[in-house]
Amino acid sequence: MTIASVGTVKPASSGTATNIHGRSLGWLAVPALVFFIAFGVIPLIGVLLLSFTTWDGIGQVIPSGLTSWKATLSNPGLPHAMWVTFQVAVLSWLFQTPMSILLGVFLAGAQKYRAFLAVLYFIPLLLSSAAIAITFKALLDPNFGLGTGLGLPFLSQDWLGEPTLALGVVVFVVSWQYIPFHSLIYQGAVRQIPTSMYEAAQIDGAGRIRQFFSITLPQLKNTIITSSTLMVVGSLTFFDLIYVLTAGGPGDATRVLALDMYKTGFQANLMGQASAIGVILVLVGLGLALLFRRLGGGDKTSSQLEGA
């Protein structure tokens, strides 16, 4: 068969869903459904059910009504964990978004050396959070790390021992890990902006900065929303990075919700309360995802290219 050669044919009718000759192929979806229900849907219902029980992780699961919820909601650790999560989400968003946009715009240029830069930029994307956390933990050593190496004494702080500094380090390392990813998304989006818009702006005498604010940024609106959704919703699940880097410390300074859930469940053996935190995480995640969709005007497919 010479199917490969037809790969470039334009989709003739996009109304593919209506084309079929009567037979249902639904059974093909069954294997995926089984897996997803078993380890996606059931756990999702399970986390809600477990939040109404008491369980130490080994013995019997005992239904206990609202006991776990009461304990969770009256624990001062919860508002603290929420506050830390909020700070990490907001600060890392504030740092990552402008950086990623600027880098993405720059990398979208066609110069050869930029492609070379991009190869190096994207390396952090390949590393596991555990590897990144371990590296920074050692690199930030006050005696044998960064400060000594660069001869800059102000970099020789007890980075992971001071609550405020530790939070800053978490935000920085998160950004170090994810800025490449978001730059990559922006790079792709910038390349899709029609060149004609810039040519028109140039004829009208708009300078580079003006072009950036009047063309690039508005054209990137949907991408900004997508990228922000991923950043913010993703920041709810930063677990491995923070767990390895600070283990939530010093004290509780970097104990985000996901970490709070893990420690409550698997270290304090309070699975019921940990499940309640899990439910909160799911709800916050869903709420944020919906909020961002609203911001995007709901319809993702609507064209941004009006006036192009």
Partner: protein, 282 residues
């Protein structure tokens, strides 16, 4: 891949801000990586006396020897088993599901499975780790590699189905029709038409999932216990706990855990990068 002509030469005066920023950020990205490499070939005593960013005076592979002796090969094999064992079935079942969603006569079953998968995209599945743990215990799978594989498959399905169904939707209907006129069953069409035509998307989805599972930490942390069953990220973490003071060895372990992916990156950079942004460009 909607591509307008590459936006070259659009402006005469260069982008100073972006340029300066990108060199600064390059430095910030490269410095730790450079440091990992040079420190991993220092001896432990040299680490304490030389400048952290100076290359070693007497390079040594002692750190690597220690890491290999501590059983990294075992962990490497575990990671390969889990990654391959999860990615292959995940992509396969997702592909079949995507085909069903696009090609089947629309009915309630297909529609509701589709919305179920879409829902999975919006939910941080890690938040359900406690019931996953309970299920794994009840299935008597605790502390096995299969315990890591099964949830990994499930977690990979939503995005894979989304990306693949977007791609299958773009296959021209005429091709399916002609297959049918040739007397092929839908099952044959699935393998002989849809599969080859969606190859780029399959590669993308495979890479995306493989990277996520290779680097995964939470599932192994919660669902396994034996040292023999550690996967690389978990092994790194325990290794750091044991040899924390021996920074060159810890960094050698970090580097060795990354090496296979770095090698892949050198070979298939384009695919890897498009794989990473799977589903966000559409």
């Amino acid at each position: 891949m909607a591509d307008t002509a590459a936006p070259t030469k659009r402006i005469r005066n260069p982008n100073w801000v972006g340029g300066a920023l990108s060199w600064v950020w390059l430095f910030i990205v490269i410095l730790p990586i450079y440091w990992i490499v040079i420190t991993s070939i220092k001896s432990q005593s040299e680490y304490f006396v030389t400048n952290p960013f100076a290359p070693p005076e007497q390079p040594t592979l002692d750190a690597y020897r220690l890491v290999i002796d501590s059983g990294i090969v075992r962990y490497f094999v575990n990671s390969v088993i889990v990654t391959v064992g999860a990615v292959v079935p995940a992509v396969l079942v997702s592909f079949m599901a995507a085909f069903a969603i696009i090609r089947s006569r629309p009915n309630r079953f297909v529609r509701s499975s589709n919305s179920l998968f879409l829902m999975g995209l919006a939910i941080p599945l890690q938040a359900t780790i406690i019931p996953v743990y309970l299920i794994i215990i009840r299935l008597h799978l605790y502390d096995t590699l299969l315990a890591l594989i099964l949830p990994s498959i499930a977690f990979a399905i939503p995005l894979s189905v989304l990306v693949l169904s977007n791609f299958i939707r773009d296959v021209p209907n005429e091709l399916f029709e002609s297959m049918r006129l040739d007397g092929c069953s839908e099952w044959q069409t699935l393998w002989r038409l849809a599969l080859p035509l969606t190859r780029p998307a399959l590669v993308t989805v495979t890479i995306y999932n493989a990277l996520g599972i290779w680097n995964g930490f939470l599932l192994p942390l919660v669902l396994t216990q034996s040292p023999d069953l550690r996967v690389l990220p978990l092994a790194l973490w325990t290794f750091q706990g044991q040899y924390g003071i021996n920074v060159p060895a810890v960094l050698a372990a970090v580097l060795m855990s990354v090496l296979p992916i770095l090698a892949l990156y050198v070979v298939g950079r384009r695919q890897l990068l498009s794989g990473l942004t799977a589903g966000f460009s559409k």
